[in-house]
C-alpha cells in the first residue's frame, strides 16, 4: 500500500512537471489531454484534504472533566490552548462541557427558523448561521458563515479558520486566529547539528579575528599592551570599577561631545570626524582591553607552569595571547557545541556572556587607567617611596669614591694584618 502510494506520488510529481502542450506535435495533443486529465486526478488525490468528521453533538463531560468556557473570547490564544488541552483529538465519543452552551463535532448549521440560546463550540467543521444564536460562536479548524438573515448576538471566533460575513448580523466582535507562519525572510529552524556547526563556525571566526588583532597589537604596540595587561593583573578590582564607570559614562560623554560641538560654530564641522573617532576609540578600548586581559591570563598561566618546572619553547607575548584567548573562549566553545540543549544551553551562554562582559569591562578599565598603556601607575611597575628600604641605599659605588679601609690595629684588629709605619 505504501509502495503504491509512493508510485502514485512520483507519477503525480512527474505529471505536474510535464512540458506544456504547445511544444508538443499535433499528433500528441490528444495524448497530452489524457495526461492532463490524469494529472489533475493525481494532483487532486494528493492534495485532498482530510475528510471532516460526521456531525455530532459532544456529550457534556462529567463533573471535573474537560471543559471550555466561551464566555470571554478576548484572549483567542487562551481559548485555543484550552481546547487543544481538553480535547486533543476530538471524536464522536469525546466528552466536553461548554458552560452555558454546547460542543459540536463536524459541520453545524443553525436553521433560519431556529434560535439557539447559549454558546456554541464547533470542532473540525464549519458553522453556518441562518437563524439566531444568542451566545458566542467558536469554530476550531473550520469557517463561520453568517448568511443573510442570520444573527449572532455574541462574539465570533474562528481558530484556524475564517469568518465569512455573507450579509448576516454579528452583534459582537469577530476574531480570526490563523496558524503560525514563518515571517517573510525568516530563517528556517535549524537542527541541533546544523545549529552547533553554525555556532562553532561563529565562535571560531570571532576567536581568529581577536587572535589576529592581538597579534597585531603585540607586534606593533607591545609596550602599551603589556602595561594594560599588567594593570589588569595588579589592579583588577580597580580596573573593573573604572571600566564599569566608563561604560556608564560612555553615552553621556558622547552626548556632551555632540552638544558641545554643535554649540560651538567651528565644532559643527568637526562633528562627523568626532563621531567616527569617538566610536572607534570606544571599540578600540573594549577590544584592546579584552585582548590585554587575555594576555594577562595567558602570562599568569604560563609563568605558573614554568614555576612548576615545565619547559616551554617560547614563553613570549604571542604565546600568552593564544593561551589567554583559548581560556576565555572555553565557555563559548561549550555553548557552541551544547547551546541547543534547552536549559543548560541558555545557562552556558549566560555564563559565557557574563564572563566576557566582566573581562571586557576590566580590560576597558585597565586601558582607561593606564591611558592606553602609557601610564604605569597601576601596573605594579613603580614602587612607592614608602615601600623602599634602605637596602637600596647601600649600592656599591661604581667609580670616584675610594673604598673605606678596614680598621687594622687596636684591640679589634684581625690577626695577621699589616701595620703601616707612621700611623
Amino acid at each position: 500500500m505504501r509502495t503504491a502510494r509512493r508510485l502514485l506520488l512520483a507519477l503525480g510529481l512527474w505529471l505536474v512537471s510535464a512540458p506544456a502542450a504547445h511544444a508538443a506535435p499535433c499528433a500528441l495533443r490528444r495524448a497530452h489531454s489524457v495526461i492532463e486529465t490524469l494529472r489533475a486526478f493525481v494532483v487532486q488525490q494528493i492534495s485532498q484534504t482530510p475528510a471532516k468528521p460526521k456531525p455530532a453533538t459532544l456529550a457534556p463531560a462529567p463533573a471535573g472533566g474537560p471543559s471550555v468556557d466561551l464566555k470571554d473570547l478576548s484572549r483567542p490564544e487562551a481559548i485555543e490552548r484550552q481546547v487543544r488541552t481538553e480535547v486533543p483529538s476530538p471524536g464522536p465519543d469525546s466528552r466536553l462541557t461548554v458552560p452555558d452552551g454546547q460542543a459540536r463535532l463536524g459541520d453545524f448549521t443553525i436553521g433560519s427558523s431556529e434560535t439557539i440560546p447559549g454558546h456554541v463550540l464547533v470542532l473540525e467543521g464549519d458553522a453556518n448561521v441562518y437563524g439566531r444564536l444568542l451566545g458566542n460562536l467558536v469554530t476550531v479548524d473550520g469557517d463561520v458563515h453568517v448568511h443573510p438573515g442570520g444573527v449572532v448576538a455574541g462574539d465570533v471566533l474562528a481558530l484556524h479558520g475564517d469568518v465569512k460575513d455573507e450579509g448576516g448580523e454579528i452583534d459582537g466582535e469577530v476574531r480570526t486566529l490563523s496558524a503560525a507562519t514563518m515571517p517573510a525572510g525568516g530563517a528556517a529552524p535549524l537542527s541541533p547539528l546544523a545549529a552547533a556547526a553554525r555556532n562553532i563556525a561563529g565562535v571560531a571566526g570571532v576567536f581568529l579575528t581577536l587572535l589576529a588583532l592581538g597579534i597585531g597589537l603585540v607586534t606593533f604596540a607591545r609596550p602599551n599592551l603589556e602595561v594594560v595587561s599588567d594593570t589588569v593583573s595588579h589592579s583588577f578590582g580597580r580596573a573593573f570599577v573604572t571600566g564599569l564607570v566608563g561604560q556608564i559614562l560612555i553615552l553621556p560623554t558622547f552626548g556632551m561631545l555632540i552638544v558641545g560641538l554643535i554649540l560651538s560654530v567651528a565644532g559643527i564641522l568637526l562633528l562627523p570626524f568626532a563621531v567616527v573617532v569617538y566610536v572607534l576609540l570606544a571599540i578600540l578600548g573594549v577590544v584592546g582591553g579584552y585582548i590585554a586581559v587575555a594576555h594577562a591570563i595567558g602570562e599568569t598561566y604560563t609563568r605558573r607552569r614554568m614555576a612548576q618546572g615545565a619547559t616551554l619553547a617560547s614563553p613570549n607575548s604571542y604565546r600568552y595571547l593564544l593561551v589567554g584567548l583559548t581560556g576565555l573562549f572555553v565557555l563559548w566553545a561549550a555553548w557552541s557545541v551544547f547551546g541547543w540543549v534547552p536549559v543548560a544551553g541558555e545557562f552556558v551562554r549566560a555564563a559565557a556572556v557574563l564572563v566576557t562582559w566582566l573581562m571586557a569591562t576590566a580590560g576597558l578599565g585597565a586601558a582607561l587607567l593606564s591611558r592606553a598603556g602609557v601610564r604605569e601607575n597601576f601596573a605594579g611597575r613603580i614602587i612607592p617611596p614608602e615601600a623602599l628600604t634602605d637596602e637600596y641605599l647601600w649600592a656599591t659605588p661604581q667609580f670616584g669614591v675610594p673604598a673605606v679601609r678596614r680598621p687594622e690595629s687596636g684591640p679589634g684588629a684581625r690577626p695577621g694584618t699589616r701595620q703601616e709605619p707612621g700611623r
Partner: protein, 280 residues
C-alpha cells in the same frame, strides 16, 4: 566510548531550535449605528498603519504578531463604546529589549469615519503611519516611545477636535496637515529627536499649539495665509525667524492682527533648533 556515543546521539537529536513564529489575527466589529467610539491602540513593536475605514465596520484590525513574545489585544466595551486594539508583551509592562525580528510585526487598523472618535495611541518601538484624514476625530492622544511616527490629516476633520496631545520620547514625529485636524488645542511634548509640524490644510478656525521640547530639532511648516504668533522660551536653541517680525517678547507675521485664521504657538525648548518653512 558510551559518553561519546551519547554526545553524538544528543547532537543528532531530531528536535528543532525555537524559532520566531508570526500569527495572523483579524478582528472587527460591525457598525450598529454607534455615534461614538473611544479607540485605544497599543502597539509595542513593529509597523502600524491606521486608515479610515471604508466598509460597514466600526473598526477592523489585521495583524501579524510574534506569537512567542506578544499576544493580540482585542476588546470592546459596549456600554462605554470603547475598543482596545493592538499587541501587548507576554511579560506585561517593563523594560524590553526589542530585536529586529520583533519589528516585523505588522498591523493595519481601520476606524469608522461615521462615529465620533476619541483616539489614544501608545507606541513602543514602532514605525507608525496614522492617516486620520476624514475621521470624526474629537480627541487625540499619542504617546510615542522610540518610534518613527507620521500622523497625517489628509482630509478635513468633519467635526471640531478639542485637543491633540502628542508625547514623544526618543522619536521622530511628523504631524502633517494639522490645519485639517480642526483641533483647537495642540500640545506637544518632545524628548530627544526630530519633529515636524505641518500646519497646512483647510483652516476653518484658529488653533493654539503648546510645544515643550527637550533636545529636539523642530521644523515648522506654516501656511502664509494664516496669521502666526510665536512666543518662545528657549535656552540653547537656534531659531530661524525669517518671515516674522518681533513684537515685544513674541514673533508675529506682519498680517497677524488682520488674519482670518490665527495660529498661536507657545514654544519652550532646551537644546536644538527651530526652522520655519513657509507654504502656500
Amino acid at each position: 566510548m558510551r559518553i561519546a556515543a551519547l554526545a553524538v546521539a544528543l547532537l543528532f537529536w531530531a528536535g528543532v531550535l525555537p524559532a520566531q513564529t508570526m500569527r495572523p489575527f483579524t478582528t472587527y466589529r460591525q457598525a450598529h449605528g454607534e455615534s461614538h467610539l473611544t479607540a485605544r491602540l497599543e502597539f509595542a513593536a513593529g509597523r502600524l498603519k491606521v486608515v479610515p475605514g471604508r466598509g460597514a465596520d466600526l473598526y477592523r484590525m489585521t495583524l501579524a504578531y510574534d506569537a512567542d513574545r506578544f499576544v493580540p489585544l482585542s476588546h470592546y466595551d459596549a456600554p462605554r463604546g470603547a475598543a482596545t486594539l493592538g499587541v501587548e508583551s507576554v511579560g506585561g509592562p517593563g523594560l524590553r529589549v526589542v530585536s529586529r525580528h520583533q519589528l516585523e510585526q505588522d498591523a493595519a487598523v481601520e476606524l469608522s469615519p461615521k462615529a465620533d472618535l476619541g483616539l489614544a495611541v501608545s507606541l513602543g518601538a514602532v514605525e507608525a503611519d496614522l492617516d486620520l484624514g476624514g475621521l470624526r476625530l474629537s480627541d487625540l492622544r499619542l504617546e510615542a516611545g522610540a518610534s518613527r511616527t507620521v500622523v497625517r490629516f489628509s482630509q478635513p476633520n468633519p467635526i471640531r477636535c478639542r485637543t491633540a496631545d502628542i508625547s514623544a520620547g526618543a522619536a521622530e514625529v511628523s504631524l502633517l496637515k494639522l490645519g485639517n485636524s480642526r483641533c483647537d488645542q495642540i500640545r506637544v511634548e518632545g524628548g530627544v529627536g526630530r519633529m515636524t509640524l505641518d500646519f497646512g490644510g483647510a483652516w476653518t478656525g484658529s488653533q493654539r499649539a503648546e510645544l515643550s521640547l527637550a533636545v529636539t530639532e523642530l521644523r515648522l511648516r506654516l501656511p502664509r495665509k494664516v496669521g502666526v504668533r510665536i512666543t518662545m522660551d528657549r535656552l540653547l536653541t537656534s531659531f530661524d525667524h525669517s518671515g516674522l517680525v518681533r513684537r515685544g517678547n513674541e514673533w508675529v507675521t506682519p498680517d497677524y492682527d488682520q488674519a482670518e485664521h490665527r495660529l498661536d504657538l507657545a514654544l519652550t525648548t532646551a537644546i536644538g533648533g527651530v526652522t520655519i518653512d513657509w507654504t502656500n
